[in-house]
């Protein structure tokens, strides 16, 4: 009884947080979202604060999983605004070819987005965040480098440290090789986090980056000019959903105040404060709004955060939000898994009674497992919006296969001698299933449930990418900001949860395992 009550409470918790976003159209807050990386977090926070300055109520949904998810959420009305880049709109959403001219790109995406999606681009914020090829000032002086053309002429004596992504994609290194006849003496694949250090230590001479990386300023690097316009222009701007555009002129006016106000130098400095100095995003955003005259210095007091270094003090400081995220995580897993167990076991039993369809059905469910989670989540946003529902459905779908496979195999292969004898003595097929096959299959079914549980607890961290919360939230944000404490504050509780859940299920397994197997 107590367990039923507990689950009912969790369901209620889930339902109430689902219902919140639909209550009373006119009172609905403006939902400000971002993609999961530092600059996007910061711009979204500036959007949110500039709206709040004008008395607009705001709900924040930071860190939606990449372009597909954020844009799908915007189109379906799950969110109202998020920062996007014109180049991304052109290449990743419209799937058009590169246009080298920034105003032309903006003109194109503005027109096409309204026609195709009813989505509006506000005037750009004022900076571009495109690929940047950077060298130390020392190297620049030695070879007198100013442009990529200059670099190409000496490239045969230089080593480049490039992200694997940049090496591979057609508008990355291949474009440089083609348009500038760039021929580096060597190319080392380096991760985002390592390449600035590698450059500072002179292990490499040239790196790729993004033009607004805070580290460009921090390491005092020179970004070489793309004089032949190889890299597509990526102007940042607010992307506005159809409903907000039609119904909230006040919000549009507030957001438009930021157009043209942020240049690349300012953005680098802001990014450095967030990503290098680990200042709270809310504070950095507010300082900048004050500097731009868009917020009074006596504005809303953001929660002061200590800059304590230790992991323990970090956990302690954020315990209440971590606890809420933990509960949300447990709720997501419990609901998705309960539904998964119910459906998969029932289906497994049905398939034992009609074995001809068993393999095709199980393989079909197995194919679901191969759909990349972000793709599955993005696919469900038009149907289910963002938030808890798509996450629950995705987790539920992922939990089915291990349980279904285990159930079917378990009941099919249950002690053949016992099954044969019971059949020969007059049990019907259904009686065999219920009284012989199912009880004998419980250890196998439990192992499927345990597998599904651990997978679901891990996969539930992706729920953060569709705004469903949970322990994925600090993990995703921490990854975006390269903040290990933040990553661990989500990852460790998730790992502990997986261990505890598996331990509890081991006890359940022991309780339901037939006595003759236990005594083996």
């Amino acid at each position: 009884m107590r367990r039923v009550l507990f689950i009912a409470l969790l369901l209620g918790f889930g339902a109430s947080s689902l219902g919140a976003q639909d209550s009373r159209q006119d009172r609905r807050p403006v939902i400000v979202a971002s993609k999961p990386f530092g600059e996007s977090f910061l711009l979204a926070e500036m959007f949110a604060q500039v709206l709040e300055q004008r008395g607009v109520r705001v709900e924040r949904r930071p860190g939606l999983g990449a372009t597909e998810v954020a844009f799908a959420a915007l189109r379906s009305g799950g969110i109202d605004v998020y920062p996007e880049y014109t180049g991304t709109g052109l290449l990743a959403i419209l799937h058009e070819d590169v246009i080298p001219d920034a105003p032309a790109v903006f003109e194109k995406v503005s027109r096409e987005f309204i026609e195709r999606y009813g989505v509006h681009w506000l005037a750009p914020l004022g900076f571009e965040n495109t690929y940047a090829i950077a060298v130390t000032k020392k190297t620049a002086a030695k070879y007198s480098l100013r442009t990529l053309g200059d670099l190409a002429s000496v490239s045969f004596s230089l080593t480049a440290g490039l992200t694997p992504d940049f090496i591979g994609r057609p508008d990355g290194l291949p474009a440089l090789q083609e348009k500038y006849t760039m021929r580096f003496a060597g190319v080392k694949p380096l991760s985002q986090a390592l390449k600035y250090q590698a450059l500072a230590q002179e292990s490499v001479d040239v790196i790729d980056g993004y033009s607004t990386d805070g580290l460009i300023k921090r390491y005092d690097l020179l970004v070489l000019e793309d004089d032949r316009k190889v890299f597509p222009p990526y102007q940042a701007a607010a992307l506005i959903g159809a409903r907000l555009w039609k119904t909230r002129p006040d919000a549009i006016a507030a957001l438009s105040q930021l157009s043209g106000r942020l240049d690349v130098t300012a953005m680098r400095a802001l990014n450095a404060r967030v990503e290098v100095d680990r200042e709270p995003i809310a504070r950095v955003a507010r300082d900048e709004l004050i500097a731009l005259g868009l917020a009074g210095s006596s504005g809303r007091e953001t929660r002061a955060r200590s800059t304590g270094e230790g992991f323990a003090s970090y956990m302690n400081e954020h315990r209440s939000e971590l606890f809420a995220q933990f509960l949300r995580h447990v709720m997501l897993v419990l609901i998705a898994l309960s539904a998964g167990i119910a459906v998969a076991i029932l289906l497994g039993l049905l398939l034992e009674r009609s074995r001809r369809s068993a393999e095709p059905v199980i393989r079909g469910v197995g194919v679901l497992q191969t759909i990349p989670s972000i793709a599955l989540l993005a696919f469900m946003i038009p149907l289910l919006g963002i938030g808890v529902w798509p996450a629950l459905v995705a987790l539920w779908l992922y939990s089915l296969y291990p349980i279904l496979r285990a159930t079917y195999t378990g009941v099919r292969d249950a002690d053949p001698a016992a099954v044969h004898a019971a059949h020969a003595l007059g049990m019907t097929g259904n009686q065999l299933l219920r009284y012989v096959r199912l009880p004998l299959a419980t250890p196998v079914i439990m192992s499927g449930i345990r597998t599904a549980t651990v997978i679901t607890i891990g996969t539930a961290t992706l729920a953060a990418f569709v705004g469903a919360g949970g322990l994925g939230e600090p993990i995703a944000t921490g990854l975006a900001l390269a903040d290990n404490r933040m990553i661990l504050s989500g990852a460790l509780p998730a790992a502990a949860l997986a261990l505890v859940a598996d331990g509890l299920l081991a006890l359940v397994e022991r309780a339901v395992t037939p006595v003759h197997i236990k005594s083996r």
């Binding site: 016992a418 004898a421 007059g426 012989v436 037939p514 005594s519």
Partner: protein, 242 residues
């Protein structure tokens, strides 16, 4: 209380192989018939035709003149006792529940019925009813299987190499128990075995099968003195030498 079994021109093919070819035989009420033969001779297939675990391609099986094919197969099986080689006890059920299987399926499980069946098979109810199958020896497990085959008041018992996996001493104990049981309960029985000496010891008549055909059917003495085929003669000779 026993039943007469008639097998009338039964044939069965498994793929390209003739498992049974036009087999006809009659088992009188209360008789024990042994089916002897090598693996692949069709003896187990014939046994399974009787309780409709196998459906013949042609021909019919009749119990007291009534064709089993006209009845619900589940009800046919519940009316016939069955003892497989390794017992086939349900490992997750205690002995008492195993024995009560058929009465329970028929909706009339009573402790007295179970107790009587166990007693017939040489098992004390109080000592064994609450034990698990895996706690018993092989011989005790076969006794439970025999009790289970009788607890529903069955008048026909099908035994598929029931003593084949036991050691010599236990097997001989079970042989004695089976003979006592027949005297007391008086059921009709069909015993599949590859061991001719076991057949001689337990059965009234013996049917020797080879490649789906009955080579000889008759009493043990007749098999020895007047074997109908060379195959049967060699079989008898080998059994005596061994």
């Amino acid at each position: 209380m026993s039943v007469r079994v008639t097998v009338d021109r039964v044939s069965k093919r498994h793929g390209d192989v003739d498992a049974l070819r036009d087999v006809t035989l009659e088992i009188s009420a209360g008789e024990c018939l042994a089916l002897v033969g090598e693996s692949g001779s069709g003896k187990t297939t014939l046994l399974r035709c009787i309780n409709r675990l196998v459906e013949p391609d042609s021909g019919s099986v009749l119990l007291d003149g009534e064709a089993v094919s006209a009845k619900d197969p589940v009800m046919v099986r519940r009316s016939i006792g069955y003892v497989p080689q390794e017992g086939g006890l349900l490992p997750h059920w205690r002995v008492g529940r195993n024995v009560a299987l058929v009465p329970w399926l028929n909706g009339k499980s009573e402790e007295a019925t179970v107790s009587r069946a166990m007693h017939l098979a040489g098992l004390d109810y109080a000592a064994y009813a609450n034990r698990w199958p895996h706690e018993l020896s092989g011989g005790q497990r076969q006794r439970v299987a025999i009790a289970r085959a009788l607890a529903g008041g069955q008048s026909l018992l099908l035994l598929d190499e029931p003593f084949g996996a036991l050691d010599a001493i236990t097997r001989s104990e079970l042989h004695d128990a089976f003979r006592g049981l027949r005297r007391e309960a008086g059921f009709t029985s069909v015993l599949v075995t590859h061991d001719l000496r076991e057949a001689v010891l337990l059965a009234d008549r013996i049917a020797v099968l080879r490649a789906g055909v009955i080579e000889h059917i008759g009493a043990a003495a007749e098999l020895k003195t007047n074997p109908r085929t060379d195959y049967v003669r060699r079989l008898v000779e080998r059994a005596e030498v061994a």
